[in-house]
Symmetry: C2
Subunit: 433 residues, 2 copies
């Protein structure tokens, strides 16, 4: 008998790696936070002596989702249409509250890892670590004064401090987030150099809207990807968010450097600037991940919903670019882990990797019958069917309940803040008398 911490019995397991597999009637063993083994249920009881046995006989286990582009504090402005100017975000308490709310929403919907971009990285890193999520936290770099730092030098020193602080943290990593492609050459070059030395991702929105793509700060008419390539910022560490409007030259540059792409279909639809062509990006050999962007334009952090939208849009675009349900699950898990530089430690259910797992209960009228578990997960399952979430073997969601977050208290704090704003967005609200 081998001693393990947790033994999960599941009806199906989709490990994502190896690709395209559905394991039926298996059990997954967790030891010291890592996936120890996946074995047939008939052998599990005799082979393992488990501290805890979790019985999920109508569920499918998939790797926890990796949301490769979020802006957690903006969750406070869900569906508000407009967001106050960033100066208001000097308020550290709001950054904290938004990140906490986002963490609760992400865990409850099966996300175990997030690439989070915004200001105040020290607050976001702390909030996401406290929620015990895995996260890659962006360190914003601007040339001049921002809501967080007064100069590029200050931004770099602040960023490197935070990077050092989390260097050996079990859950938190960091990435550089240039404020834009129009930063000074020297600033961008310094980001490229440091990212390379420290093996840190560089994350930024790229080629989202057709307008303004020819412009840079010096008016040279250089395309953003060309500028980043010239200054040494394109590499497998680069995470280009959106990547909608691309010429053949843009795609060639992306391919040469093997950069990563984050597809954010709901945000793209809501902001109306066009959609990335996932099949084409993949045909150029790029690693395509998926992200929700902020709830201002989404209006949620629901990766199941995002993957379903991505899959439907791809089906609607062109029959020749068919991407199957297994591949969409990979885009929402393993490809995200790869974009964040975490492909060796999470993103799939393989022995040796951290046990970042999402259990989805298919015992629901809307997901029966199950002719094909991957198809049902991508096209029919709802976030509410996510019953359990583990990160590094720790249960953050158990039978639908958040284990580490007092949801009632959190929502009460959020509602108190919202009520303090008055009702600027609700002119139609009528109280009968």
């Amino acid at each position: 008998m081998e001693a393990v911490d947790t033994l999960i019995f599941a009806r199906w397991i989709i490990p994502v790696e190896p690709a395209g597999q559905v394991l039926e009637h298996c059990a997954l063993a967790i030891r010291q936070g890592r996936i120890h083994a996946i074995v047939p249920q008939s052998l599990a009881a005799s082979r393992f002596d488990a501290t805890e046995v979790v019985d999920r006989r109508s569920h499918v286990l998939v790797p926890g989702f990796v949301n490769a582009h979020a802006q957690t504090p903006l969750t406070l402005w869900r569906g508000a249409g407009t967001v106050p100017s960033f100066e208001n975000w000097a308020d550290a308490e709001l950054v904290q509250l938004g990140a906490e709310l986002a963490a609760a929403e992400m865990i409850a919907s099966g996300t175990t890892c997030v690439l989070d971009s915004f200001g105040h990285p020290e607050i976001r890193a702390r909030a996401l670590a406290d929620a015990r999520l895995r996260a890659c936290v962006s360190l914003p770099i601007a040339d001049g004064a921002s809501a967080w730092t007064l100069s590029a030098d200050e931004a770099f020193s602040h960023a490197l401090e935070i990077h050092d602080e989390y260097r050996s943290h079990p859950l938190i990593t960091t990435a550089f987030a240039p404020a834009g492609v129009d930063l000074a050459d020297a600033t961008l070059e310094r980001i490229g150099r440091l990212a390379n030395e420290l093996e840190m991702p560089i994350v930024l929105p790229l080629h989202e809207k057709a307008a303004g793509l020819e412009a840079d700060s010096e008016g040279r008419g250089e395309r953003p990807l060309a500028r980043l390539e010239r200054l040494g910022l394109l590499s497998p560490l680069t995470v280009g968010v959106h990547m909608v409007h691309l010429t053949a030259e843009d795609l060639d540059a992306a391919q040469r450097a093997a950069i990563n792409v984050v597809h954010c279909p709901q945000s793209n639809l809501k902001r109306g600037g066009g959609l990335a062509n996932v099949a084409k990006l993949q045909a150029y050999g790029l690693n395509v991940a998926c992200g929700t962007d902020s709830p201002v334009d989404n209006d949620d952090l629901d990766m199941l919903d995002e993957l379903r939208t991505a899959a439907l849009l791809s089906r609607g675009r062109d029959a020749e670019e068919f991407i199957d349900a297994h591949e969409w699950l990979r885009i929402g898990t393993m490809n995200g882990a790869q974009a964040l530089g975490l492909a060796e430690i999470c993103g799939s259910l393989e022995p040796g990797k951290w046990a970042d797992i999402c259990a989805i209960d298919l015992n629901h009228p809307a997901t029966q019958p199950v002719h094909d578990p991957a198809e049902v997960v991508v096209y029919a399952a709802s976030r509410a069917q996510v019953s359990d979430v583990w990160v590094a073997g720790r249960a953050l969601l158990s039978e639908g309940r958040l284990t580490g977050i007092d949801t009632g208290n959190l929502i009460a704090r959020v509602e108190r803040w919202r009520a303090s704003l008055g009702h600027p967005e609700r002119e139609n609200l009528v109280e009968l008398r």
Copy 2:
């Protein structure tokens, strides 16, 4: 004190009619199955003596959704990719099982009324009536032999029998469903005449795919809408499903007759034949409703999900065709009722109408804060947040539980049937040894 049956206290009520309103801190009173009044909560307790008080203080009440195009028996083939030939559907037991499963799914996700198209109308009508859903059941008419009838004459007599049987039923109405626009002139003309005499809707897929639109059975190259207009089938009783590929002449014909349109965006995406332009259809004065189509191409009967997809697609298409969240709720409720000829009795929360109501609990991390209830319902709420559903005042879903359906038994029957098929769709399924 007025005696009422049920008094629902809700945080918000979106009545849909009048348009654009959000009522806050109100109570809705139900008497004899109908909406009796909506009053401020402060007055409700002193004005009404209620048999039952339902407290939904973090919820929004909206009209129950009207799914204007479903094919309930096909729910058994959810996500299976292919469906067996229709001969297999001579099996009445499968039609019954699929309709029961669909009813459970629809009620659990807030749908109170459906326009259901398939064969075996007598079985579907009985199953939907037993589930206590409001439904308009299609009566299929073919020229020759089908799985249900042997000739057009037999189809008409069968249809009229069922129509008569349900003439005074409180929940079930019927509609003619021509098998196609290529039926014989005489058959189509007879449908038009009877529909007009009996005030029955005529429902059929129209202009879904670009291919084949110029053809009819006699090879005259007449467009389907032109043919139907010539034969007297276009009127406000006509329900055209899909309506994707339309010329200016097609739109003029639709406008002249003031027909109804059912937008099925997820089905259109998954089948890859293009998308209806909702704003343009509305600009021609057409009543646009929304439907899920069958779960073979969707893969669910989730109207919240369908409306979100429709709203996002419309945003992504063109900034000038902006349709707000309130209008999307109307498309998913009132406009559906109008398409089914039920605008006088349901589709909005107005005194005098049947109490067909959906309560959605917004007390969830993914739907907080609530800056704008309509926006949050359309863009962020999930079907699992539907807590209560009433049809004609009767609670079919109460605090998330189906009151009249044994879900466990139903799913067990569905699973037994699926298991009897073997695993034709699951070649990738691996059992570890």
